[in-house]
């Protein structure tokens, strides 16, 4: 089961309308047989860039984050439904990625070039491309190929 994060930018509006809009977005998820894990209010603030949607230019927005589980096939439908909503300025659905526990590889990357693994692989791959050449000290006293 994939957990998605829905980042919503809503039009700045009174509390009552805001609640109604959030309810609408939530019911859309439930209708697609999904469920909500978390709703977070990220506040109302100036947008980093102005956005025009549904024929209106917006400079401010209320940010909301909804963590949800929906069938992956319905994500596109959800996005399409939200794109028709006049109160939603912008919406993005991202997969929730668990923090990676990979080891830091900086000490390997800081080595001089010939000691780095990726450089060594590059050199090996370039050597593979080189054509075999005739060596003149092989005992043959003439060049066997056409010059």
């Amino acid at each position: 089961m994939i957990t998605y994060e829905l980042c919503l930018l809503l039009r700045v509006m009174p509390k009552k309308e805001l609640a109604a809009t959030l309810k609408r977005t939530a019911t859309a998820i439930f209708d697609k047989s999904g469920f909500i894990r978390k709703i977070e209010n990220l506040g109302t603030r100036d947008m980093p860039y102005k956005t025009s949607s549904h024929g209106v230019v917006y400079n401010k927005a209320s940010y909301f984050l909804i963590e949800m589980n929906v069938p992956p096939s319905t994500v596109e439908e959800l996005k399409e439904e939200y794109s028709r909503d006049v109160d939603i300025i912008r919406r993005r659905v991202y997969k929730k990625i668990p923090p990676s526990e990979a080891e830091c590889t900086l000490h390997e990357e800081m080595l001089p070039a010939p000691y780095r693994k990726d450089v060594q692989e590059l050199i090996a791959s370039s050597k593979k491309l080189q054509k075999p050449r005739f060596s003149y000290n092989s005992g043959l006293d003439y060049y066997p190929f056409q010059k």
């Binding site: 940010y63 984050l65 990676s100």
Partner: protein, 139 residues
């Protein structure tokens, strides 16, 4: 005459040396049979081994996230809003690639600026110096 004498002396010296070696040989054999108590033990770790280098995000165990705009903007140029390269930020490859993708996500979601660093983040502490990159710039 003197030459002959010298040769005689040389012969004597060589023969005496050969004798000495013959005497020394068995002594060496005895030396190899010394008990292990006198042999120093070198089973400790290499004390001169350097500590492994770690990038700043791995050191503090921070995973870049698209909602953490304040962190992401520290890796953004205040002049053009572009992401600094790995040779400047000094991050490991995995973290830098994650950072870049998270910044793109954040900008797409309307959380982060694209062409400039947000003015409220300009005075944030600097994690690196763009003028002094780890590896030279490619231009």
């Amino acid at each position: 005459m003197s030459l002959i004498l010298r040769k005689c002396f040389q012969n004597v010296q060589i023969s005496s040396l050969l004798k000495n070696t013959r005497v020394l040989m068995p002594v060496r054999n005895v030396g190899s049979e010394v008990s292990d108590a006198d042999v120093p033990k070198f089973d400790m770790e290499n004390p001169f081994l350097k500590e492994k280098q770690q990038c700043i995000l791995c050191k503090h165990k921070i995973d870049p996230d698209y909602k953490n705009v304040k962190l992401l903007s520290q890796f953004q140029s205040p002049y053009t809003g572009r992401i600094y390269g790995r040779h400047i930020t000094g991050l490991c490859k995995a973290k830098h690639e994650k950072l870049e993708s998270e910044i793109v996500k954040s900008q797409s979601a309307g959380l982060m600026t694209v062409y400039l660093k947000e003015p409220c983040f300009i005075k944030d502490p600097k994690l690196f110096d763009a003028e002094r990159p780890i590896r030279p710039h490619r231009f």
